[in-house]
Symmetry: C2
Subunit: 450 residues, 2 copies
């Protein structure tokens, strides 16, 4: 926070790289936090980035690499040799190291692994690579402080000092039995306030939240958030302590999930940001637009069915965008509420109770909007009351249908094991557009009889 | 996690309440985590909730209350006397206590404050009430462990033991000078591994991230996430240590912000969930639907302007939903990317660079979609090539305009100090619907000349 990240600083770094003023560069970067270095690198030319990474040395750059975007990191790693990548990985915590290795090309990955000197570190990393990246096993790090339940407090203190050297933040000391099975935990505070003559078995807390290696990331996040945990131990099928997930990784996970859901709702299917290339952005956006185009074609056909109505009541056609917009908006609202309920596991009551509530809600909203619509079309647009009434009745039906679709589709997808977040945004609006138009003209046909 | 939360448990609790079986209830709830108790209460009848809260005693219920929804908590507090509320608040950390007091009616708040026995706790809470709830001051708690820089490690250990009693999680020990100004920090680990003869001034870390009491919550979240902090000290204008914000509160804050943005994008303006009443949900949803209705009226008028075209080229009207849907989808995509860039402060380059990129992107997407559209309308719908071409050219123009609107509106709102999240969803889709239709028929008129 001490260094102001601005255009001047970037230019200064670029100049120093050009002059190969290594001393000055080392001096400059020496005091900067690795997260800030990552931000600076983000604004540099690719050539300068590689230069700085090679200059700084892996102890510092290992942490910088973890702060970078996947794309930027990939570009940097392409410019490093397998040996150089291995020395970066040597410095990383096991979870970060495994993430980096997973991003590498299989052949390069093998070569990098061969260069890893510390065998224990290497085998820990390889173990983590086995787990699904969205599971507790894929999110955990092997670094933790553990103690056998049969030790004394004094013994624990000295062991802890040793183990803590390798662990950035201790949070809890996990208590295990002779088979390495998780028995409980001990906070540093408890240890500090305990008499040194006490035994660990007398003071540890047997109630400890834990997750299985296969628990999904979302569930880990939910548990950690619900119980305000800063770290949670991960055990295998035999109850053996395998690692722990820490809150800082969980914060990133929660943030990424939220961004992903937000993007999906907006019709963006890959994780992109404003800095990505036109091509990457197209890949993320175009599929949804093609979906909307197909929906549009269907609505062309649907409207074609009602061509006779156009001749009899031209003005009805002017209400098509209004009806479609209403259907889309209501559908997105309903699905958003269901989706958040599903995500937070706060969806209560039976499906019927939910639907009845949506029906009541739609009727209430629908009636208010219908009255506004009739007043508007009679007094502002000067239309026939019958036309106003027809559109209003259609509007209520469309709102009712759209809210049903918006409520049911995510629930059905979820039951089928498909990510319900896919259902919001373009998918709901497109299907509701078509249904809305179909309902509108069917009702108009029935009332006005064309 | 030991107790299964299900329908049976709820029924059992309801029965025990009916029988006034206090012993059994205390037994049952004794072993359950406060977050789980909150979940159980969520499913009980209001009468039983009040009964259980009064039975359990404030030491346990203070934490339960914090886990509940605002609405549920409000209902419970309504059934408690000022003295009972005060005894709950007595047990809470200062930040939670201040949040609860802020929710109370002014008259009740005064009465509750009068009942607070612990004067220091009371004055700490009152201090927190002065800050904006979305600022670091409003988010921080007064509970922390601090030590004067002139003390020794041994002295620190004993002081720490004393202070730590009141602090749930220590994280860092903050080092202050005689004027209580923040000088640095010390981790528990550092303290444990330091020689007991050392002085604090020799071992503490002078580089410490901190925020000002007036720093906005979003900024606090960004800093804590960027630097992987689990707690951040908060100082006042004089640099004096006022409190600290912890990561568990920040996780809740990040989650709430993400949900709020998601809901705004879906056209839901208040914080609601699926459990809220029809009336609350209507209040959150109806305003956006009225906005869409007004937009719909404008599009009725716009279409009315092109009535002659309807007679000349009926089929053009069938493409209205397609054009409107495209305009809406593209606008939402563009605005979502800008919004996330604004939120993460990752928006790079000048406004012109952004716009040029959007233009390129729109042209690329537009051309691909235009070719699909021409093929579809000629070969599937069997329309004239001229009609297909007219719609295709309009489509490209509409996509271009919609992406400009989607990009510019959030940036303009942000510069005006208005929350740009308001701009996504219904607002963007409605304005893009209207612009899209206007552009479509203007181009059609120009090409087909009606």
């Amino acid at each position: 926070m001490a260094v102001e990240l601005n255009e001047d600083l970037i230019q200064q770094v670029e100049q120093l790289v050009e002059q190969k003023a290594d001393e000055k560069l080392l001096d400059l970067f020496g005091d900067i936090h690795h997260a800030d270095i990552a931000e600076i690198l983000d604004d540099l030319e690719q050539r300068s980035v590689t230069y700085v990474i090679k200059l700084l040395g892996s102890e510092k750059t290992a942490e910088v690499l973890m702060e970078l975007d996947d794309d930027d990191r990939e570009k940097i790693l392409e410019n490093l040799s397998a040996r150089e990548i291995a020395s970066e990985i040597q410095e990383m915590d096991t979870d970060d190291a495994a993430d980096i290795l997973a991003e590498l090309d299989l052949i390069i990955r093998q070569r990098v692994i061969a260069y890893l000197d510390d065998e224990e570190h290497a085998s820990n990393i390889l173990e983590l690579l086995k787990y699904d990246e969205n599971s507790a096993g894929g999110l955990m790090a092997k670094e933790l402080v553990k103690i056998n339940e049969n030790r004394s407090v004094t013994n624990c203190m000295s062991q802890m000092r040793e183990q803590a050297e390798e662990v950035t933040r201790v949070h809890s000391i996990y208590v295990v039995d002779d088979q390495d099975r998780l028995k409980g935990r001990l906070s540093l505070k408890d240890l500090l306030t305990a008499a040194s003559s006490a035994n660990i078995s007398d003071i540890y807390i047997t109630k400890v939240d834990f997750v299985d290696v296969n628990t999904e990331g979302e569930e880990v996040a939910r548990i950690m958030q619900k119980y305000d945990l800063e770290a949670i131990p991960v055990v295998n099928e035999l109850g053996r302590l395998m690692g722990r997930v820490t809150i800082d990784d969980m914060v990133d996970f929660i943030k990424e999930e939220a961004e992903r859901d937000y993007q999906l709702a907006a019709g963006i299917s890959e994780d992109v940001d404003s800095g990505d290339t036109v091509w990457q952005l197209t890949r993320a956006r175009l599929p949804w637009l093609i979906l909307a185009l197909i929906g549009g074609f269907i609505s062309v056909n649907v409207l074609g069915l009602f061509q006779p109505a156009m001749r009899a009541h031209e003005v009805l056609f002017f209400f098509v965008p209004l009806i479609a917009a209403m259907a889309g908006n209501v559908g997105v609202q309903s699905s958003a509420i269901v989706l958040q309920g599903l995500a937070n596991k706060s969806l209560k009551g039976t499906l019927w109770q939910r639907l009845i509530k949506e029906i009541l809600l739609s009727l209430l909203n629908g009636f208010i909007l219908a009255i506004l619509l009739i007043c508007g079309s009679v007094f502002i647009l000067g239309l026939d009351f019958t036309i106003g009434l027809t559109v209003a009745i259609s509007l209520i039906s469309v709102i009712l249908t759209a809210s049903m679709i918006g409520t049911l589709i995510p629930i059905i997808l979820d039951k089928q094991g498909i990510d319900p977040a896919m259902a919001t945004g373009p998918f709901i609006t497109t299907s509701n557009d078509i249904c809305g138009i179909l309902i509108f003209f069917s009702i108009a046909k029935w009332i006005l009889g064309f």
